[in-house]
Amino acid sequence: MMLETVIPIAYALVALAFLLSFWRLIQGPDAPDRILALDTLYVNTIALLVLLGIHLGSAIYFEAALLIAMMGFVGTVALCKYLLRGDIIE
Amino acid sequence: MEALIALVIGVLTAGGVFLALRGQTFPVVLGLTLMSYAVNLFLFVMGRLAIGVPPVISDAAQGYTDPLPQALVLTAIVISFGMTAFVIVLSLKARAELGNDHVDGHHEDSPEGRH
């Protein structure tokens, strides 16, 4: 089956993406770089979850993906707002 | 895999412990957060590791993981969230009352950042 070869490759690619994003997060150099990297890590994680869902044939990972999309956004917004205004709820 | 999880728990605990021993409130809060990650993971894996067998009853399921630790961790997460929130606000209160962010209200260790 084709999927069985493709999915491991996809895993590898996404994992590599995850690593690269993480590298940027550690590397910086500026705060926006790190926030962007964290945001990207969230999206990479969604990709991993979708792959996991297809791989294991389970829909149970969907909500997690949905939530990551939502929460990742909120986190990014809050972090950026902090850089801009300090007071995030004013 | 078990060794990796144990390692992760160990690292989280170590990081949490180290930060919890710092002098300012903020790292202490971070430390408590790391510790709660550690203990949540720990409590969770007490049901042993299993992949692809969530505790949701269905005819197609090949097996189930132990649901009880999961329920316990959920409770623990919520509780530690409440606790963390409280300690964060308390650290602000302490900052206002003590004039600095040292857990003991000392001045010598904290030249007040750049505020």
Binding site: L13, R24, A31, V43, F73, L84 | -
Partner: protein
């Protein structure tokens, strides 16, 4: 046939995801790094989500389209995030390969908009 389509979608998705992160890692200033994750990664994950929708629609009875929701979500939020990040970077004067916009009106020290420094 479906397998080929699925494989294609999955591979494309994974590759775009990777390229997005590659851009994040490789490019040389914050503003250029911003492009990769905003576009390539979003599309990559979009592809994977479509693959998932197709996969579950085919394998189980009934259509599985809830993945659309995640995609929708990402497409609404990714540009907002990017915008805020760029705005923050501009505010912080993060160094740029391109010349920074000459006079950013919104961040100009307009006395009426400034907070009282005494507080």
């Amino acid at each position: 046939m479906i397998d080929i389509l699925l494989s294609l979608l999955i591979l494309t998705g994974a590759i775009f995801t990777l390229i997005g992160s590659l851009g994040l890692a490789r490019l040389r200033d914050f503003y250029t790094r911003l492009h990769g994750p905003t576009k390539a990664t979003t599309l990559g994950v979009g592809c994977l989500l479509i693959a998932s929708a197709v996969h579950f629609s085919v394998r189980e009875e009934g259509v599985s389209l809830h993945e659309v929701l995640v995609t929708l979500f990402l497409f609404i939020t990714a540009p907002v995030s990017a915008h805020l990040l760029a705005k923050a970077a501009l505010h912080l004067k993060v160094k740029s390969l391109a010349a920074l916009p000459a006079q950013d009106t919104s961040t100009a020290p307009d006395p009426a908009l400034q907070r009282d420094p005494a507080d």
